[in-house]
Symmetry: C2
Subunit: 186 residues, 2 copies
């Protein structure tokens, strides 16, 4: 049960599920693209759903780490960092591999709120909310929880519209709105 093969599998699955979708990606496609046999896949993950959950876990960790790191790097204070999250989004949108948010898409394909895939998607968004609420608290802004929610509305909206229409101006416009909301809470 070589851990490296397991890693190769989940890595490739992450890429293919993200680019092609979950229902649209068959396990056979992963066999073809990884040269890992189906038996080995099902030794590592009992079902396709387990594999999807593993890819989402990896994606959650990587995405949040990168997102928060970029926002931190592009700012000098918690208040600035809240705004800089929209610069981080802009960078993401410009990536030619950008195809919306994996968790929005996952919850689109697995709509039942009690479905594990839906639940981990919701958890991902909650963790991002916590991150921004903490920033709002550090910045000593009014109603940090509500402010974080409102900024997240702008972020999720930006992701959706950047995916639908292309990235031009979307993140910038969201950033302008975010500044207005942050200033109103100062």
């Amino acid at each position: 049960m070589s851990a490296s093969k397991r890693e190769e599998l989940v890595e490739k699955a992450l890429e293919v599920f993200y680019q092609q979708g979950f229902h649209a990606t068959g396990m056979d496609k992963l066999v073809a693209e990884t040269k890992i046999s189906k038996t080995s896949m099902y030794k590592h993950y009992k079902t396709k759903e387990d594999l999807i959950l593993a890819t989402l876990k990896l994606r959650d960790e990587r995405f949040r780490e990168n997102f928060m790191n970029r926002a931190t790097a592009l700012s000098n204070s918690p208040k600035q960092e809240l705004i800089a999250t929209f610069d981080a989004l802009a960078e993401w949108f410009e990536d030619k591999k950008f195809k919306s948010c994996m968790f929005i898409k996952a919850s689109s394909e697995y709509q039942d709120p009690d479905h594990p895939i839906h639940m981990v998607s919701a958890e991902h968004k909650k963790l991002l909310h916590v991150y921004m609420q903490r920033l709002a608290e550090k910045a000593e802004l009014k109603n940090p929880k509500e402010l974080a929610s409102q900024l997240q509305l702008l972020q999720e909206g930006a992701i959706v519209l950047a995916h639908l229409h292309g990235c031009e101006g979307v993140a910038e416009n969201a950033k302008i709105a975010a500044k207005a909301l942050v200033n109103a809470a100062s």
Copy 2:
């Protein structure tokens, strides 16, 4: 080619695609739920994709009409109507059949920007944007196009988060943010 059967088909398809998803819904399921034979279906619509496009067209018309009517009914001026769109959203989110936005989900399953399904989804969002831009113009607000974009960001974010976490407070929070943005443009 009875038009009533055609209507029954697209009606049922709309419901099932919305509740269950596109890839997850087979044509056989529609046969089972409508008692319309597969042959008849494929006489009316050459492919599943054609049927999906028909359901999206119907959904677009109905949704926008209802959305705009509700916003109009809940307000007394273009400026108020911009804000009232968030009350219309709140009503929608509270419907127990609410399962996110059909077009966000469609673009999640058909990600290629050149795919017809993706394109009609983008067009739907553009039409909503036009509606709000007109309102902003009638209300004589500053930068009507940018304001409409920012309000739409809040709306799309609200849809996504209401679907992920439930509707509690989402639309209300978005409305508060919208008021701040509208007032800033007054």
